[in-house]
C-alpha cells in the first residue's frame, strides 16, 4: 500500500528500525510497515487531543476576555490545567443509554462523527517534507472523508429517541449539506489556478498566497466553514434556548467528549485547509514551515472564536437564504470569473 502511505517523508529512520525489528523477530518486512502506520495514527491521535485541549482553553480564555471576564483561573497557572480536569471528569463519568434509544446506533454515532474529522487530518501538509500520508488527490480526500460526519450527526439525533435531539440533528444535517455546496465550489477556484488536487503542489504553486487572486473564494470558504462546524452565528442546531443541546442532548461522559473533540477537530481541519489553500500553507520566510503552518491555522482559528463571541445567532430561514441565495450564486460567479480570467490571460 505504498501509494497510500508514504512514511519515508515522516519517519525514515524509525521505519527502517521497525522493519529491522520485524525481520529480527521472524516476521515479514510488511509487519514493520504496519507498525509504522499504527504509530503514525497514534501520533496523530495524540496531536489531535493536544490541539483540541489548547483550542478549548484558548476559546474559554478569549471568550472570557471578550466579555470582560477573566476565564478559567483556578486549576493550574491561569487555569491551564482546567481542560485536563474537565477531560478526566468526562472520562470517569458513567455512560448510559436512554431507554427510548436505538442502542447500537446511539453507541456508534459519536465515533462516526469523530472518525470523519480525524481521518481528514492525515492528509494535511504540515511542512515541506511533513505530511502524515501524501495523496495525489488530497483535496478530494479531505472533502470525501468528512462527509460521513453528517450521517453520524443524523444517527445521534435520531437514535436518542428525544424530540430535541431529532430536531437538532435534522437542522445540523440540513445546514451542513447546504453549506457544503458553496464550500466546495469556492475551493474549485484554487484548484483551477493551481491545476492540481495535490495539497503539496497547491502549496508549492503559491508564490503569492491565493487569497490575493481569490478574495471572494476565501470569504465564501470562511463563512461556509463556520457554518459547517455548526458554530455561532450558525449554531441554530444547538440553540440552547430552544433545543437544549441539539443532537447531543442525550449524550454524556466519554461519548459526549467525542462529539466535543469532533467539533474542534473539524474546526482545526477547515482552518488548516484555508491556510493551505488560500494563505500559502507552510510557505514563509525565516521560520521553519510548520511554524508558518500552525501560525496561519491559528490565525483562522482565532477568527472562528472571535465570530462566535461577537455575532448574534441567525434565524433558521435566514441561514438557508444565506447559503442558497447568496453564497452559492456568488461561488458560481467566482468560478466563472476565475475561468474567464484563466482563459483570457
Amino acid at each position: 500500500m505504498r501509494y497510500l502511505f508514504a512514511p519515508a517523508e515522516l519517519f525514515p529512520i524509525l521505519l527502517e528500525g521497525l522493519r529491522g525489528l520485524a525481520v529480527w523477530a521472524g516476521l515479514p518486512v510488511m509487519a514493520g510497515d504496519w507498525a509504522g502506520a499504527a504509530l503514525v495514527m497514534f501520533g496523530l491521535f495524540a496531536f489531535c487531543a493536544l490541539t483540541v485541549m489548547v483550542l478549548v482553553y484558548a476559546e474559554r480564555k478569549i471568550a472570557g476576555h471578550m466579555q470582560a471576564r477573566i476565564g478559567p483561573m483556578r486549576v493550574g497557572w491561569h487555569g491551564v490545567l482546567q481542560v485536563i480536569a474537565d477531560t478526566i471528569k468526562l472520562i470517569v463519568k458513567e455512560t448510559w443509554v436512554p431507554g427510548s434509544a436505538d442502542r447500537w446506533v446511539y453507541r456508534c454515532a459519536p465515533y462516526v462523527v469523530f472518525t470523519a474529522g480525524f481521518l481528514a487530518l492525515i492528509a494535511l501538509p504540515l511542512d515541506r517534507d511533513l505530511t502524515p500520508v501524501h495523496l495525489n488527490l488530497g483535496l478530494i480526500y479531505i472533502v470525501a472523508v468528512g462527509t460521513p460526519g453528517v450521517i453520524g450527526i443524523l444517527m445521534a439525533g435520531w437514535s436518542s429517541g428525544n424530540k430535541y435531539s431529532l430536531i437538532g440533528g435534522m437542522r445540523s444535517a440540513a445546514q451542513m449539506i447546504s453549506y457544503e455546496v458553496p464550500l466546495l465550489i469556492s475551493l474549485m477556484g484554487v484548484v483551477m489556478i493551481s491545476g492540481t488536487l495535490d495539497l503539496h503542489m497547491i502549496v508549492e504553486s503559491q508564490r503569492v498566497p491565493y487569497i490575493i487572486f481569490q478574495p471572494l473564494g476565501f470569504l465564501i470558504f470562511l463563512i461556509s466553514a463556520v457554518a459547517e462546524t455548526n458554530r455561532n452565528p450558525f449554531d441554530i442546531p444547538e440553540a440552547e434556548s430552544e433545543l437544549t443541546a441539539g443532537f447531543h442532548t442525550e449524550y454524556g461522559g466519554i461519548r459526549f467528549a467525542y462529539f466535543f473533540l469532533a467539533e474542534y477537530v473539524n474546526m482545526f481541519v477547515l482552518s488548516a485547509l484555508a491556510a493551505t489553500l488560500f494563505l500559502g500553507g507552510w510557505q514563509g520566510p525565516w521560520f521553519p514551515g510548520w511554524v508558518w503552518f500552525l501560525a496561519k491555522t491559528g490565525a483562522i482559528l482565532f477568527l472562528f472564536i472571535w465570530f462566535r463571541w461577537t455575532f448574534p445567532r441567525f434565524r433558521a430561514d435566514q441561514l438557508m437564504d444565506l447559503s442558497w441565495k447568496i453564497l452559492t450564486p456568488l461561488a458560481f460567479l467566482n468560478l466563472l470569473a476565475t475561468g474567464l480570467i484563466l482563459v483570457l490571460l
Binding site: L135, I151, W158
Partner: protein, 163 residues
C-alpha cells in the same frame, strides 16, 4: 497476502451490510447498511488503485444519497416508526428483476472472463475530465437532466397539494 486478506474482509463487510440493507425492516438501519456497504466497496476500489473512483463513491453515496435518504424518511413523517412491511404487492416483479440482473451479470462474466493478470489502469483525473467534456459529453448532460427531473419530482412530492 495482506491485499487478499483486506479484499476478503472488505468483501464480507460489503455483503453483510448489503444483506442488512435489504433485510432490515427499519428504514434507517437499512440506510446505514447502504452507507457501510458503500464504504466497503470504496475500500475495494482503493485496493484496485482506483482512488478517484473510491473517493467519489464515498462523496456521492455516503455524503449525498444516504443523507438524502434519511431526509426523505424523516419528511414522510413516520421517522419514529419507520418500519417497513415484510413484503408488498411488487414482490414478484422486484424479485424477477433482481433475478434477471443476476443472470445477466453472471452470463456476461461467463462469456467474457476477466483477464486473470489484468493491470488496473491509472487514469489521471485530467484525462477523465477531458473525456467527460468531449467524447462523453452527451451521456454526461443526459445524466444531469435526469438528476434535475428527480429534483423537481422531489420538490413536487414534498410540497404536497396546493390549497
Amino acid at each position: 497476502m495482506a491485499t487478499i486478506i483486506g479484499f476478503y474482509l472488505l468483501a464480507l463487510l460489503a455483503i453483510g451490510a448489503g444483506i442488512l440493507l435489504v433485510s432490515s425492516r427499519n428504514l434507517l438501519h437499512a440506510l446505514l447498511g447502504l452507507a457501510v456497504a458503500s464504504l466497503a466497496v470504496a475500500g475495494l476500489m482503493l485496493g484496485l488503485r482506483a482512488e478517484f473512483l473510491a473517493l467519489v463513491l464515498v462523496l456521492i453515496y455516503v455524503g449525498a444519497v444516504v443523507v438524502l435518504g434519511v431526509f426523505a424518511v424523516m419528511l414522510t413523517g413516520h421517522f419514529e416508526k419507520a418500519v417497513l412491511p415484510p413484503s408488498n404487492e411488487l414482490k414478484i416483479l422486484g424479485g424477477g428483476t433482481a433475478l434477471a440482473l443476476l443472470v445477466l451479470i453472471t452470463g456476461v462474466i461467463l462469456i467474457q472472463p476477466l483477464a486473470p493478470d489484468a493491470v488496473p489502469a491509472q487514469v489521471p483525473i485530467q484525462k477523465l475530465g477531458a473525456l467527460l467534456m468531449t467524447d462523453y459529453v452527451l451521456p454526461f448532460e443526459l445524466v444531469s437532466v435526469l438528476l434535475l427531473a428527480a429534483l423537481v419530482g422531489a420538490i413536487v412530492i414534498a410540497r404536497g397539494k396546493e390549497d
